[in-house]
Amino acid sequence: MPSTNLQHRRTHNLLLINKLLNQRDASSPFTLVFDNLEQSGKGIIAEYLRRAKVAKVKTVFVSFETLGQLQNVDVYIQTWKYQSVAAWQKEVAFHTRPPPPSTTMLATPANAQKTLLILDSLNSLPASTTPLPTFLISLLSPTTSLLSVYHLDIPSSLPPPYHPSLLTTLKFLATTILTPHSLHHVLERKAARDRSLPEPLFGLAEAVHGLVVAGRPSGGAGVKINDADGGVVIEMEHRRRSGRGVREWFFLPDSLGTVSTFAVGGAGKTSNVTLLEDHPLYRSPSDEGAVGGGGADDELISTFELNLSEKQRRDREGVVLPYYDAQRADGAGPGEGGRILYDMGAEDDFDEEEDEI
């Protein structure tokens, strides 16, 4: 039953993603966003910040590449202003340290001040002196969770021999991996899949001379999406404490339109994330029947009229087929003894010699 399965996933996985985005119950201490130029992960970070503001979580933003006025950020650390790596690491440690013991005596874990620490690009980190895993783990604490971005299309130089690459290490360490995709590209890939065509590549992967970002120019062929339909498709991989992984695809609508309502309302806590399958542009016509619970009108699409009218149906039901007679069990049927039953038609030419019954 596909519809029940979908309903189940809708309930459970939407709860899960909202729990992750709200950073409730320390559900994911280390969240990684793997983005590329075709779909930046900054929209996801902005959504985290928006929700952290509502939940009164302290946010510490460690910037390696983001400049300018940031919304919903409590502490903004610009790493390039520090002389050494150790200097800004000290600053980060200062802002994320747990409260002094005197206050923790009173504060229960439930109401302790939670901190969301954001590193906007881990790509610049390998150049630093401390090994990255050691550094990242040193940032975590029961009240601090870490959200960081890694750009997949910024190559890093080779690790020392016999060492795993940075990417492998990060994938191993992360408790949740979110991979943003462009809705436009997801739809184009799906359209190709549905026709059993090879899936198209975008941007740098196209290896077109001089093309850096493919984007979604309006002049392009294929699926047409308005800018109003903008948003991010999120591929989630969450590792539970038991080790079991949960994978799901979600759609996060563009938050630009809702920024002002959040600022004013505050309590307007909308859970606007949906499953990707529930997106009207992604859902294919055949899935739609399944979602609707399998209605009575499962009509075949054909150039022939395969349905019966009411009169045709009555006539068909009225026909008595001959073998019903032969199956009478009391032995009184005409088929007794293996005789052949044959009614002569008007056009039959009876041949005495040949057709002896």
């Binding site: 983005d35 130029l37 930046s40 900054k42 929209g43 970070i45 902005a46 590449e65 983001t66 400049l67 300018g68 006025q69 940031l70 919304q71 610009q78 390039w80 202003k81 690009s121 790509n123 610049s124 150049a127 750009h151 299309d153 910024i154 190559p155 890093s156 130089s157 080779l158 740098l204 992967a205 290896a207 077109v208 001379h209 001089g210 093309l211 850096v212 970002v213 493919a214 984007g215 979604r216 120019p217 309006s218 002049g219 392009g220 800018d227 903008g230 630009l256 339109g257 920024v259 002002s260």
Partner: protein, 272 residues
């Protein structure tokens, strides 16, 4: 002909003073130079004082710091006058344009480059405290290509400088061999230089508000088309901003650089 008319209408929305803290990235290739975009960006920011269309509603003026790694001031003075009709010598005299020459001057280390630009910024801000300064760097990837600094060092320097000015624009090369390492699953067979240059261009694009790339026509050279110009959103297209400006509109169009330096931008299928 006034300079405003020399900027193709289709690109007018992009070639002007960007919002605060934004980074614009322009890329070209060996066969398709982005010089015509650079000269138009410089002239657009210098051309009209008090022009609301250039994002200067508050009556302030804009100023440009033009950092060059591949050409000297004479080249650009000629080029900008020829193609847009703006005389940058006058702007330099007025102090609205500072030309930082990293081409003929001995600026072989990234620290020297930083110091030269920082001095220019300080001078300009002293002379015109209210001016919104646009920092334009033409081909800073030369520093990477010369192996004078790593991508992380250039990036850090750029961020330091960006935090002192209104906004910045970077022009660099995006030929396929320079970018190939960015998509490779295994970087083992790429040289460190390939890795660094690919990492530099894509990390710039990740910080950009938009990326405007010019490239050759896919179908080969044509007499009436010089190349394809595409504008795509960069990695930082206003997710953070306090005000909702709306997103960058993405377009792709063809262009033709004419013999007199004028440029026509038109849609695919349209006649120049």
């Amino acid at each position: 002909m006034t300079s405003r008319n020399r900027i193709p209408p289709a690109l007018e929305a992009y070639l002007r003073l960007p919002p605060e803290a934004a980074l614009l990235v322009f890329t070209g290739t060996l066969g398709c130079s982005a010089n015509w975009l650079t000269s138009r960006l410089v002239s657009a920011c210098l051309a009209n004082d008090n022009d609301a269309r250039h994002g200067l509603e508050d009556g302030g003026s804009s100023a440009v710091i033009f950092v060059n790694f591949l050409h000297d001031a004479t080249f650009w003075q000629y080029e900008i006058r020829r193609t847009t009709g703006v005389d940058i010598a006058r702007s330099m005299k007025e102090g609205r344009l500072m030309f930082v020459d990293c081409f003929t001057q001995n600026t072989s280390t990234i620290q020297a480059v930083h110091d030269a630009i920082a001095v220019a910024i300080a001078q300009l801000q002293k002379a015109r405290p209210s001016a919104k300064v646009l920092l334009i760097l033409d081909n800073p990837d030369t520093v990477i290509a010369l192996n004078a600094a790593t991508k992380n060092e250039v990036n850090k320097t750029l961020l330091k400088l960006r935090s002192q000015v209104h906004a910045a624009a970077v022009v660099c090369n995006a030929d396929q061999p320079l970018l190939a390492a960015a998509t490779a699953d295994e970087v083992a067979h790429h040289t460190p230089l390939e890795v660094e240059s690919a990492a530099f261009v894509s990390s710039l694009a990740h910080q950009a508000r938009f990326v405007m790339s010019v490239r050759e026509l896919d179908t080969g050279a044509a007499r009436d088309v010089s190349g394809v110009v595409r504008v795509s959103r960069g990695g930082d297209d206003g997710w953070w901003g306090p005000e909702v400006n709306g997103r960058v509109r993405e377009i792709e169009a063809l262009y033709l650089v004419q013999r007199d330096g004028g440029v026509k931008v038109f849609e695919r299928g349209a006649v120049a």
